[in-house]
Amino acid sequence: MERGRDAVSAAGWSTLGVVVAVGAWALVASAFAIPEIILPSPAGVVAAFLRLPGYLLEQAVITLGETVLGFVLSVVCGLAIGMAIAAFRVAELMFYPLLVAFNAVPKVALAPLLVVWMGFGQQPKVVMALLVCFFPVVLSVAGGLAATPPELVELARSLDTPRWQTFVKIRFPGALPQVFVGLKVAMPLASVGAVIGEFSAGDAGLGFVIVQAGGSSDTALAFAAIGLLGIMSIALFYALVLVERLLLPWVRETAAVR
């Protein structure tokens, strides 16, 4: 009962947040008399969506697929690289600076390369999503693994635990809360990556719609696509939060109260 009421009030507050944001947007759009082409009104965006709902949802599903796939791959790669960095000083010294540099490269600049290697299909978009979002995963894995309480590290050492077992049984579970922070950062980035991939090649996905709409100065349509992207990301993000809760019940139980 408590929980039910909590959930209702939570949903209420969240809705209020959205309402406030949309209201502020509507106000800004009308109060400053910003041209529709630069900042369309919420109503205009909804109208744009209703003009092509089927098409937009279809494109959203395409982007969703790329995002999820790219995210999953980034988790796999991020875990591997993060663990290597946490485990081997040589790996850290050799690859950390490269990763940092690579992460600072605007990925759009790499798009032609990806197109040449992988063509115009979904693959380069998935790879783009992966490239854009794996760095936070790497850093949070490495950071989380480095933050194992010293007494647990000593426990592992006292049992002469092989390195990989120390990782799997002690350091990694302890790092999970921090890893999830990294995943939460990575999740919206994955959709940004997929969209950037769609900007650069192909003729599908919300990114393509945004470019097309932008090119025809149909800003309302671009915003409709952006809105869908936002909704999609919220859903993915909270799915991740749910996974976290299911996987790490002990964190919630021991975590700090507000």
Partner: protein, 262 residues
């Protein structure tokens, strides 16, 4: 079994070095039960860490079973001063951690783990997480985790400090029992002279920082021992008195309280 020669340990630090142990010599025979007592901060935990291979002595030699200690060994178990439980594992799984790590058959040792939890009175809590336990309960879980390894050398750092007298006594008896059955070599750090005398063949007394061996008191009383009205009570009491004497506790207490400092 355990041999320390001129072992010194100095901790470096940004605020200057701390000399924890100085030129310590110690021999513990196979199957011997040694207790270590000494003032807080005198280096008892450091001593155990050195024997466990968790620290490398600044100078001197540490051997276990004749071999120099260069890293932790699986036949040496250590129970830390803090429980060091994995917060995401149930009590049972915490106890079974060494079993998993050693790659022993889990099924078999499960039964053993349950027996140990039964022994320390925590069987009813075996599915709970550590944060649901009281301080003393956590300490008992850590004890079970050390015992499940059935090590040749068992190092224990104040294992009963968070336990009430009754539980402490029950577990002392169990520990004695286990020691007698498995002939393990035990080094036990304790602040309880009673406990040291009840359990140990020899009680090593360390000086305050830096820790050196002040004296060694032999307790030549046959096992099983209990405190109380038994045959050797007098012997135990004598050892106890001697230790109190050495540690200066009674003497200090008998003096008038020091002048208030403010």
């Amino acid at each position: 079994m355990i041999l320390l020669r001129e072992v010194s340990q100095v901790f470096g630090g940004r605020r200057g070095a701390v000399e924890a142990l100085r030129e310590l010599d110690l021999d513990v025979a196979d199957g011997e039960f040694t207790a270590v007592v000494g003032r807080s901060g005198c280096g008892k935990s450091t001593l155990l860490r050195l024997i466990a291979g968790l620290l490398t002595a600044t100078s001197g030699e540490v051997r276990v079973g004749g071999e120099p200690v260069v890293r932790p060994r699986r036949d040496v178990a250590i129970m830390f001063q803090r429980p060091a439980l994995l917060p995401w594992r149930s009590v049972l799984d915490n106890v079974l951690l060494p079993v998993e790590i050693f790659g022993w058959p889990r099924q078999e040792h499960r039964a053993h783990a349950h027996r140990l939890l039964e022994m320390v009175g925590l069987e009813a809590f075996h599915r709970r997480l550590p944060h649901e336990l009281s301080g003393g309960m956590q300490q008992r879980v850590a004890l079970c985790r050390a015992l499940i390894q059935r090590p040749r050398v068992l190092l224990m750092d104040e294992p009963f400090s968070a336990l009430d007298a009754l539980t402490r006594e029950e577990l002392s008896i169990e520990l004695q029992q286990i020691h007698m059955e498995h002939a393990a070599t035990v080094v036990l750090v304790t602040h309880s002279i009673e406990e040291a005398v009840l359990l140990a063949d020899r009680v090593v007394v360390l000086t305050p920082r830096p820790g050196r061996i002040l004296t060694v008191v032999d307790v030549d009383v046959p096992r099983p021992r209990t405190l109380g009205q038994h045959a050797h009570a007098a012997d135990l009491a004598r050892c106890s008195a001697e230790l109190h004497e050495v540690l200066g506790a009674r003497r200090a207490a008998a003096e008038p309280p020091p002048a208030p400092q403010r």
